[in-house]
């Protein structure tokens, strides 16, 4: 198994791609979600158009537009950067929906109660709405992270040496596609399972007592 170090190198690139894309998605998604909940009609419309358009284009097409399309506008980006942009901007469209839903599911009477204590909207958002919204957003954000991680395999198409591409290189010299692809699949499995593990750790840490699976007074 002399090829394992190559695969692990690829896995490292995959992890890097996944984390940076997820972070880019988060940074773009938060203001989008904020705009959808608290913005005026025009902002709301713009955000929903962005979400709709991005979500209806296949990832590979977004990737090709950025990597092969932009150079005709004299914008030439390296493979890794193009990959992160495609993955991150697409994930932003999904993540913003997660955060919007989470914020909206808290708002209402909690905001009213916070204002009645004399808080301004910003204080109320940071100390009352956000702490609750984050907890609601943890499970779907974990799902999204797993999806982004798996979808990093698509950027193999523009030559980024991530896990799948490394596997492909090995196969061209060793001719053992079944074994190599199974190993690749196994590594993806380990990565995704780790995300889920990390996630339940977070969930446990931030769990609000009395709410949830243990059967609190609110469970009927």
């Amino acid at each position: 198994m002399s090829s394992l170090p190559y695969l692990l190198n690829g896995a490292l690139v995959t992890i890097k791609l996944g984390i940076i894309s997820m972070l880019l998605g988060f940074v773009v998604a938060l203001p989008l979600a904020f705009g959808q909940v608290y913005g005026n009609r025009i902002i709301k419309k713009l955000v929903s158009v962005y979400e709709r358009v991005v979500r209806s284009i296949p990832l590979l097409v977004i990737l090709f537009l950025i990597f092969y399309g932009l150079p005709s506008l004299k914008i030439r980006l390296p493979e890794f950067t193009s990959a992160v942009l495609a993955l991150g901007l697409r994930s932003a469209a999904y993540q913003s929906q997660i955060y919007r839903g989470a914020i909206q599911s808290v708002s209402g009477s909690q905001m009213k109660a916070a204002l009645s204590l004399g808080m301004n909207r910003l204080t109320a958002f940071f100390y009352v709405i956000l702490p609750q919204a984050v907890r609601i957003a943890i499970p779907p954000t974990g799902n999204e992270a797993a999806i982004v991680l798996k979808d990093t395999s698509v950027v193999y198409a523009i030559g980024v040496s991530e896990l799948l591409r490394q596997g492909y290189y090995i196969i061209t010299t060793h001719y053992e596609p079944m074994l190599i692809y199974l190993t690749v699949a196994f590594i993806y499995l380990i990565l995704t399972v780790s995300i889920n593990g990390l996630l339940s750790l977070f969930e446990k840490k931030f769990k609000i007592p009395g709410i949830g699976a243990e059967g609190g007074p609110n469970d009927y």
């Binding site: 009477s109 109660a113 009645s116 204590l117 204080t123 609000i208 009395g210 609190g216 007074p217």
Partner: protein, 251 residues
């Protein structure tokens, strides 16, 4: 404008779309007084409370809190600190313990030191009989306990008056007693309170005055004994008698 009243409301009007909810409401509240607003559902009772806290902007009319016109105030956050609000659905912050709920206004709004805020929070929880539950989260409390935490949260801010918006309507009949008892105690201690409620027995014993409202207007206001036994208006009699019937039906 100067007034000796703690709260003065003049000719309040409010519409939601085409629906006129408040149609010229005027009344006042003095320091230490308890007034209870009663009336059929949808007559604008809650809208009055929301207007006093500027959670709803009235279309017309003025509200004064100790001579300060709050309807035109630029610093509404400061005024809200002086007016407690107790909600029908409790409005407790679900991610905070009972103590945390009482503390958050002190630390985040009044910028108090944590230790000082904690002392006040424990004092107020004790006052509503819940010091043992300080570390419980809202989801671990009964409805009556939640509402008492809501009252402690309002008290901690040392408000000039507290607004109660149907504080017991979301509670089992068994649990309303513990909340009403706390409110009775506050009234006896001289807290100024404006209460929207359907608890006629409570209104009759605790209120200095009852305000009967219908269709966005005050039909009649006066001491409970007068309204319950000898009201000026036929409609007041009809409404209150219905409750008295209900009250004694099962006896």
């Amino acid at each position: 404008m100067t007034t000796n009243h703690l709260l003065l409301i003049e000719n309040l009007h409010k519409s939601f779309d085409d629906n006129k909810v408040l149609n010229g409401i005027s009344f006042h509240l003095d320091k230490g007084e308890t007034k209870v607003i009663v009336g059929p559902s949808g007559t604008g009772k809650s809208t009055i409370l929301n207007s006093i806290n500027m959670l709803v902007r009235p279309d017309e009319g003025k509200i004064y809190l100790e001579n300060i016109e709050i309807t035109s105030s630029k610093n509404i956050h400061k005024i809200r600190q002086e007016i407690g609000f107790v909600f029908q659905d409790f409005g407790l912050f679900n991610h905070l313990t009972a103590k945390g709920n009482v503390m958050i206004g002190l630390t985040r709004v009044k910028k108090m030191k944590k230790k000082e805020a904690e002392e006040i929070a424990m004092f107020e929880l004790e006052r509503v009989g819940l010091s043992k539950f300080a570390d419980h989260y809202p989801a671990q409390l009964s409805g009556g306990q939640k509402q008492r935490v809501g009252i402690a949260r309002a008290l901690a801010m040392q408000p000039k008056l507290i607004l109660f918006d149907e504080p017991t309507s979301a509670l089992d009949p068994e649990l309303t007693g513990e909340v009403l008892n706390v409110m009775k105690k506050l009234a006896a201690e001289g807290m100024t309170m404006l209460i929207v409620s359907h608890e006629m027995g409570f209104a009759r014993t605790v209120a200095d005055e009852i305000i009967f409202m219908e269709n966005g207007e005050i039909i009649e206001q006066g001491p409970p004994e007068k309204l319950f036994t000898n009201p000026d208006h036929e409609r007041t009699k009809e409404f209150l008698l219905k409750f008295i019937d209900l009250y004694y039906e099962g006896v």
